[in-house]
Symmetry: C4
Subunit: 237 residues, 4 copies
Amino acid sequence: MNSSIQQTIDELHTATRLLVGEGILDGFGHVSARHPDLPDRYFMLISNLGGPAPESRVLELDADSNPVRPGDARPSIERFIHGEVYRQRPDVLAIVHTHAPSLIPFGVCNVPLRPLYHMCGFLEDGPPVFDIRTKHGVTNMLVTTPEIGQSLASSLGARAMVLMRGHGATVVGTSLKEAVFRSVYATQNAQLLPTAMQLGQPTFLDSGEARLADELHHAVLRRPWEYWTKKHGLGLA
Amino acid sequence: MNSSIQQTIDELHTATRLLVGEGILDGFGHVSARHPDLPDRYFMLISNLGGPAPESRVLELDADSNPVRPGDARPSIERFIHGEVYRQRPDVLAIVHTHAPSLIPFGVCNVPLRPLYHMCGFLEDGPPVFDIRTKHGVTNMLVTTPEIGQSLASSLGARAMVLMRGHGATVVGTSLKEAVFRSVYATQNAQLLPTAMQLGQPTFLDSGEARLADELHHAVLRRPWEYWTKKHGLGLA
Amino acid sequence: MNSSIQQTIDELHTATRLLVGEGILDGFGHVSARHPDLPDRYFMLISNLGGPAPESRVLELDADSNPVRPGDARPSIERFIHGEVYRQRPDVLAIVHTHAPSLIPFGVCNVPLRPLYHMCGFLEDGPPVFDIRTKHGVTNMLVTTPEIGQSLASSLGARAMVLMRGHGATVVGTSLKEAVFRSVYATQNAQLLPTAMQLGQPTFLDSGEARLADELHHAVLRRPWEYWTKKHGLGLA
Amino acid sequence: MNSSIQQTIDELHTATRLLVGEGILDGFGHVSARHPDLPDRYFMLISNLGGPAPESRVLELDADSNPVRPGDARPSIERFIHGEVYRQRPDVLAIVHTHAPSLIPFGVCNVPLRPLYHMCGFLEDGPPVFDIRTKHGVTNMLVTTPEIGQSLASSLGARAMVLMRGHGATVVGTSLKEAVFRSVYATQNAQLLPTAMQLGQPTFLDSGEARLADELHHAVLRRPWEYWTKKHGLGLA
């Protein structure tokens, strides 16, 4: 295994632990990273905490979200979230799919999750909400087919995040560090917005402020990543 | 002791620790499991954390909620919750009785605890609320007699959960894993629903979505169970 | 030192750690216990966490809240809360004075902290609110004199708890176990009541239910005490 | 290095860890202390948790917020918050800049963060809100120039705290202990005020009570400092 692949896998393990530590993932939800050398492949873990030894928990999937090595463990039935977003968004190198509690109300109510502060410029004027029922009827709510994955990726469009009605959200980034950063602070913004709305009419970041703040954070992602790895007792990946 | 009994008891210890770790049980509340070989008996622990050594904390109770071995420790005065539900619901193999804080408001207000997301399909259109006063007058609110237990079981009916006015809730499953899963996510749904209601009129899972989501989770209960055991520092039962 | 005194002091240390662990005390607030043999004396600690070795942190105070041994550490300027309540309430054997966050809003708004569930029968129809300004004018809000302590004790009357406007609350019990129990669950009831009020008009415990539930808990205080000592990694006192 | 400098740096490390532990700082935000001997200089750390060994994380900055030793690590781009407040406020010896979640809504809504209780007398009738856009147009929201720092310091005026629209807050004190104390309790007051407002019209501390309570706490800052150092497993600085 070459070193860029190893580094990606190491970061994927670290990202998973950080997201568990920050309450973004629990037994469900997952994070993935695009293969650094073969851009039509990506890596996922088969569990977020526990399960077999770390090296046995890594799955490599192809463009159609099939495991590259047939003997590997069974992949998540929701892997099409990742595969279809990677296909439609060549700029995306990492994806977090989460059921983080504070995001759930924003997927089922008609209130845009707009950015209250500079950490969340990537929210722009509020992520779109993907409703699986619109195109796919009554389901178990999960993204269990390539077709549903494609619908989700279309809802996401060129954004950083898409909310999913009755389910959760999917957040993308140009690195694992960015996808983790956005997941944590989107969740925090969602915790704060109902309170701000109770207090009055919040002044959101305007579009210029949102764009400039997002650009800034793009450049300083190592700082929170190192903070969270230290906080959660991990070595730096 | 045969191995299926031992496994049930081991899982009961694990379930108790997970529910304590997730804030579903504290010094009060309890979880039970039906006897795997003698379906008119069930097991409970005499305390959720601490107390005597684990093997001395297990009680085996008969169909009338009397301890099978007279020398055993004093059983919970609320054991009739378990005994009478096991009697009326042959499909139920595990029961959680909880005072989880977020559930309390839903037992005292006229708002159904409907499912905001796929984790909670088992909530259907909202659990019934058992009001002890209706049939049993002014009490200390606890289920201290077989008769009150029977009333509670009747309120539960064929559901997965019943709220209890001024007291808490009782959640059932076809396994300890399912009863634990439902307890944790019902509690989370209850935390999120007031926020969603503040934001606007939430779109709940419709009945078909709820049913399909519950069926799906029935099949993947090992995943969150392994996550919580790892998170709370326990070996896998 | 005889054994009942030693046991009281040991329990006082344990109670302090439990209340810190449960978020009822932080650097401020304090708990006391009446002297088991000399009912016109009581014990307090000079700090809740840290400070000198445990045996040097115990203060014995007389009926006027003066340290019995002149060389002892400086007592809390708020010790009159304890001294004057012990004087007016011979039935009280332990007192918790807390700034627990969830109680603060109920001291400054005109909403009674009524009991949502059986754990809080002692709240009856809502504790009185002591406003220091009524009798003592503009102060630093603290109970720094015997006179203010007497006013507070009069507000408390025969109740289990008194809220203090812009300050916190004082909770009493017939044992440290009871005062700890009441402090923890009053705080939890205060966390839940605003949510219940948002959902609708809550059904509170009626007075008969409240009385019976409080009597019941009076008899089972060992159970939550053992739970909290285990949870917070302490030996049983 | 003389002992007062060493003590300041030790306290700065401790303050950082306490503020991380209390949720006031995460990967972002920072605390500083004025140089004890050269009042036109101040100390900051280059990271809140992790990063290089403690002694390599200390930066000394001059009156214009330039590092005194050119070879030192890159200072925060937001150091002008500190430098310009120290310039305009000779009484200030320590500064905390925070994005603490509960403060964010009060920076974007038109509700003064008034003191609900005696811990927060320093809030007076509510801190001013600095809106960077008023003078500096569309930015990335950060205080990246001396000019913006001067505007912020002017908004702060003679107060203990200034809120920053879409960003966070800056809190000052006459010691690290005071700046830490104020940061923690301002954040707690901000968590409680929305609840109090939901319950009704809160009675805030009046101006005399606020002033007297703040004076009192000024005299007892060692108490909470020792509590937090013990709680977060640190030695006493």
